[in-house]
């Protein structure tokens, strides 16, 4: 029994890791007031860049670097359109997802069907994700810079009036979101399943977006949520011998619906940043 729980916990953590990493990035972006639905696309680009760099150089750490850089570059494009050019964030994000998946699929053709020579252990990423979550929580809730970031998401006009450069803060948060999505992608192609294939992200980016809402934009709650999601996902295969697989397959999603409805019923603020999804225009009233 002990071994059973231990192995289930480990798998839950491993499956939760890419969701947690990308979800933390999305929490930061959304806390600054920008919804980036392009997580899936950034993750795919990150996974490809990580794999390509690791394969060509033989050095998986270079892969991590390349993965985060590529996803950050994609996030920069999104920031440019949604923050500076004030395009609709939702549409720009969806476009980024499609662009990222398509571009990664196209550029990744030469790498298909080749295993990665030097891989990274899953456990490193798991530990890194847990550490990052606590650091990011502390930064967001207990530092001056975290306060700046949150105020840009709650009330950018006031933040601006106080001399904060709202654009700079939002740019950094979105690009940081890209770095985290790239890290999640690097985990997938360097550790979780060390190879590249079109569609390697298979919807994990979307779960990460859901995670941000699900965890009420709180980095520590995100850890619990990612772990829970990972556990449900793992158990949906583990328990197949006893429970109908169709039902188990629907479980994680059913669970999200139930919890989201419950949290909507709760009194008081939902925890969503006040200015979430609204492009900021200097000198204009909302």
């Amino acid at each position: 029994m002990e071994a059973w729980i231990w192995s289930a916990t480990l798998r839950a953590l491993a499956f939760g890791t890419p969701i947690l990493l990308a979800g933390l990035g999305e929490i930061y972006a959304e806390r600054s007031g920008v919804v980036n639905l392009g997580v899936e696309g950034m993750m795919a680009l990150g996974a490809l860049a990580a794999f390509a760099a690791a394969q060509l150089s033989g050095e998986p750490f270079l892969g991590v670097l390349a993965g985060t850089a590529a996803a950050a570059a994609a996030a920069l494009v999104f920031a440019l359109t949604s923050i500076t050019l004030r395009a609709n964030q939702y549409v720009a994000g969806l476009a980024l997802t499609m662009l990222g998946i398509g571009l990664a699929g196209l550029l990744g053709k030469p790498y298909e069907g080749t295993p990665l020579a030097n891989t990274l252990p899953e456990s490193w990423f798991i530990v890194a994700a847990l550490l990052l979550a606590s650091i990011l929580w502390f930064f967001l809730q207990h530092t001056y810079w975290g306060l700046l970031l949150r105020s840009c998401g709650e009330n950018p006009e006031t933040a601006d009036a106080m001399g904060i450069n709202v654009y700079a803060v939002r740019y950094s948060a979105v690009i940081f979101g890209g770095v985290m999505a790239g890290l999640a992608g690097a985990f997938l192609s360097l550790a979780y399943r060390p190879s590249w294939a079109d569609g390697i992200t298979s919807g994990l980016g979307w779960i990460a977006v859901a995670l941000a809402i699900f965890s009420a934009w709180h980095p520590l709650k995100a850890v619990a949520a990612a772990f829970l999601f990972g556990a449900l996902y793992h158990l949906s295969y583990r328990l197949q011998a006893y429970v109908s697989p169709e039902f188990l397959k629907a479980m994680p999603y059913l669970f999200v619906v139930v919890v989201l409805s419950l949290s909507a019923l709760r009194r008081g603020p939902s925890g969503a940043p006040e200015a979430l999804g609204t492009p900021y225009v200097r000198g204009e009233r909302r």
């Binding site: 059973w4 069907g113 569609g199 197949q240």
Partner: protein, 382 residues
Amino acid sequence: MRKAVILAVLVLLGALGLAQGDKLKACWIYVGPVGDYGWSNAHDQGRKAAEKALPWLQTQYVESVAEAQAEAYMDKLVKQGCKVIFATSFGYMDSVLAAAKKHPDVIFAHATGYKRAANVATYMADFYQLYYLNGLMAGALSKSGKVGYVGAFPIPELKRHIDAFALGVRAVNPKAKVLVRWIYEWYKPAAAKEAAEALIADGADVLAFTEDSPTIVQVAAKKGLPSFSHYSPMQRFAPDEVVSGQLVHWEKIYIDFLAKVYAGVYTPKNLQDVDYWWLLPQGAVELGGEYGVPINPKFIPALKAKVVNSPIFGKLSVYDLVLKELALMRDDELAFDPFQGPIKDRKGNLRVPAGLRLSKGQLESMEWAAPGVVGPWPNEPK
């Protein structure tokens, strides 16, 4: 001057058209990305090989076509001049028939389907013989007596394969179990990985699967467990752990079919009964995790060490058993078949009477579970 240029362009275009007129244009529709390293990739390899082998062939493909959109894509391909269309997913079945009705001059061929028409043929390269041989090896290599199988969907095709696999496992390891988990996806690396991890956690020490990526081969290799490659040569992903597997040669069917179309044997009027069900004798499938390597040499000593008592050959090693049965199944006479009666299902009902085999129709509609299969089995007959 201008007129002369226009004339020259027209002549050139006409010449191009004529040059193309000799060519037969065949088009493929894939359900997944061609880079999936599984099903769609295998079909695309077949397409490339056919194009190479047939100088008069011109090809085109569309990938990742959802089943609901298949008909629209087929209309588009017909407009682009495709004379033969290969629809390579079971779920395209009704779209193929609808499109075939709209375009009676175009030849359609539907992989894995069973509905035909005057201009719709069906084709399949099936693995059940190979799965049985894989099962023999898996049974010989399992120490825990638990062999894991990750299945995509609980449909007759997979049930046939898993049953053949389980019969093989039990033939050399009569008490062994085949633990089955379903992921309800054809291509989902993350799901395949977690399902494989769940099987390993439950004690499985040999893995086989139906999913279009080498994920499970990699998961097993990480734990040092033997596994079987599926569809594409995956031994290169785990050179020390992949024992064998199933490889497909769709080009054998494609070249045969297209040559007959080109020669006028197949026309859009006479395909009602054209159904390819190609197995080992036709060379449409091959045993192994790498082309030309039926059994990974690393596992030959272990397979030679395991001696069993075969009802046909008497006492011999599993290695010899695999090779002998492979030779028999390669033969046109089909002197051996995995579903050779008497076979009972896991509930004890007699499914194949003694001395009989299953017909193609019975194989294609198989819903029962072989003895030793443990796990959910939707639509299992009472």
